[in-house]
């Protein structure tokens, strides 16, 4: 009796064919990997105050992704190549200097958006790939080719290993470049490797939810996690968890949305993911607010 109820409610949650669908499998796998990587790197992005650089890589990815469409390779490759070149350019212009950081990011970002505009124009007008703009900017996680999965895994692993190896020097140079340098840390090299890891992470996030929204998956879960815990490693764990939950629930809801108005078409996964991340961020403020309220109540007594 209760078993049948459970199956029925599961059926309500997971529309028919959800578990047998290969596109869903790929979406779940890639979404999970990307959420973990974005959570871990995102915590450093928030600690270093480099959300703007993350956003820039999203826009640079637009140029890379649309360029990939033009030459007929997969979008992930385009995102990765575009972002790695972008990271190199930012480093050369002087992203490592405190004042140069926003400047370098802004200059590279502007140039990249210009290229992206050209490539998108050529792609959309030149061939029948009308979905390109939607795919690049807003992502289409259900349309990822299964051949993309190994590359995603390898890139995710590269980023996680980089962060694990750099963990201590990176954290210390994020606190104070001066203290880190006095300890013999090559602050610039560490920063450059981190920038590369960030570039790859945003490329991964872009195939999941699109270039424009990629920052949401990078910064949102990390910012929420840092409101929930003061411990850095735990924040990475929470951020990964929030990201996975947002992506997976987003995938389920998008799959279900087939039956929703206007009907016949699924809603974009990216919308759900970003909305869920935003909700998670709002909710993450609740414990703090309760704590502050209790503290002030105690003080009044």
């Amino acid at each position: 009796m209760s078993e049948r109820l459970a199956v029925k409610s599961l059926g309500f949650l997971f529309a028919a064919g959800f578990f047998g669908n290969q596109a869903v499998h790929i979406a779940i796998a890639i979404g999970g990997v990307v959420a973990i990587v974005a959570g871990v790197v995102g915590v450093f992005t928030v600690i270093r105050g480099q959300a703007f650089a993350g956003e820039a890589f999203g826009d640079i990815g637009t140029a890379g992704g649309s360029g990939a469409y033009l030459v007929g390779v997969g979008p992930l490759l385009g995102f990765v190549i575009g972002n790695v070149i972008g990271a190199g350019a930012m480093e050369l212009i002087g992203v490592q200097r405190p004042r140069g950081r926003d400047l370098a990011t802004g200059i590279v970002l502007g140039a990249a958006i210009g290229l992206g505009a050209l490539f998108l124009y050529l792609t959309v007008t030149g061939s029948n790939t009308t979905g390109a703009t939607q795919t690049i900017l807003f992502g289409s996680i259900f349309e990822i080719a299964s051949s993309t999965v190994p590359l995603t895994l390898v890139l995710g692993l590269i980023v996680l290993v980089t962060i694990a190896v750099l963990y201590r020097p990176l954290l210390l140079s994020s606190v104070s470049a001066e203290i880190a340098a006095a300890r013999g840390i090559a602050v610039r090299t560490v920063g450059a490797f981190y920038l590369l890891a960030l570039a790859l992470t945003v490329a991964l996030a872009a195939i999941t939810i699109g270039t424009i929204l990629s920052t949401a998956l990078l910064v949102g879960p990390a910012a929420a996690a840092l409101r929930l815990t003061k411990s850095t490693p735990r924040a990475m764990l929470y951020a990964a968890g929030i990201g996975i939950a947002a992506v997976w629930i987003g995938v389920v809801l998008a799959y279900d949305s087939d039956h929703w108005p206007p009907g016949g078409r699924t809603w974009p996964v990216s919308f759900f993911v970003v909305a869920l991340v935003f909700c998670a961020y709002l909710l993450s403020g609740v414990p703090q607010a309760i704590h502050a309220r209790r503290a002030s109540a105690r003080a009044e007594r």
Partner: protein, 274 residues
Amino acid sequence: MSEQLLSVQGVDVRIGPRKILDDVSFEVAPGQFTGLIGSNGAGKTTLLRVILGLQAPSAGSVRIDGRPRSRRGAAIGYVPQKFLLDPDLPLRARDLVDLGIDGQRLGVPWPSRRRRARVEQILESVDALRFADERVGNLSGGEQQRVLIAHALVGEPKLLLLDEPLANLDISRGEEVVSLLAAIAKEHAIAVLISAHEINPLLPVMDRVVYMAAGRAASGSTEEVVRADVLSRLYGHHVDVLNVHGRVLVVAGAGSASDLVGHEIALPETGAHG
């Protein structure tokens, strides 16, 4: 020579045509408390940067523990000028101190009871245990400073360098920090080199002084250095050294430096600690 912990010999630093440091030489023995005194622009920070290996000298040498200064050295603990930390920096005070143990090493630190106990102990010795679990960015300037001192100490350095730790502190807070540092130096048997504008807060605890003006330095005991003739030669300009209720005032005076040979002012008894 070999018993000196820090030996600075004939250090020059030139940036373009400007001479920031001009033939600076002094030594610090193990466990000694040394004040690096001078006004803004005297070259104190540059000298500290040379000692830390962040600035290459144009001439001269720095030896630490008898060896040439290498960039990778845990022998020096360094506390930069405060208010360096971002206001929202989401890192616990405890974690910043933990990074002081081996923050320069690659890889993820493996938590252990011993590590935790060591951090706890250092935090307690600088009276920072109360706010150990707060985020460093949310702490007051004085609290951040204690955390940074703990960060510098936890690596068990032989020499602790502090850049203007008394700037922006009121007088009683300044005294607290000085006596804390003196106690730490004694307890851990480490040498302390501390830069400051003002000599007076350091007088009760200082073993040696390095007095800087216009990139040049005079060093020795306070009795040897804080004298009108020595400081006048250093400034290249006549100064008087006044002793007011056990405090020292260095004031610009009339006449030329050569008038002052033999002119001496008795310094207060500096043995009265605390």
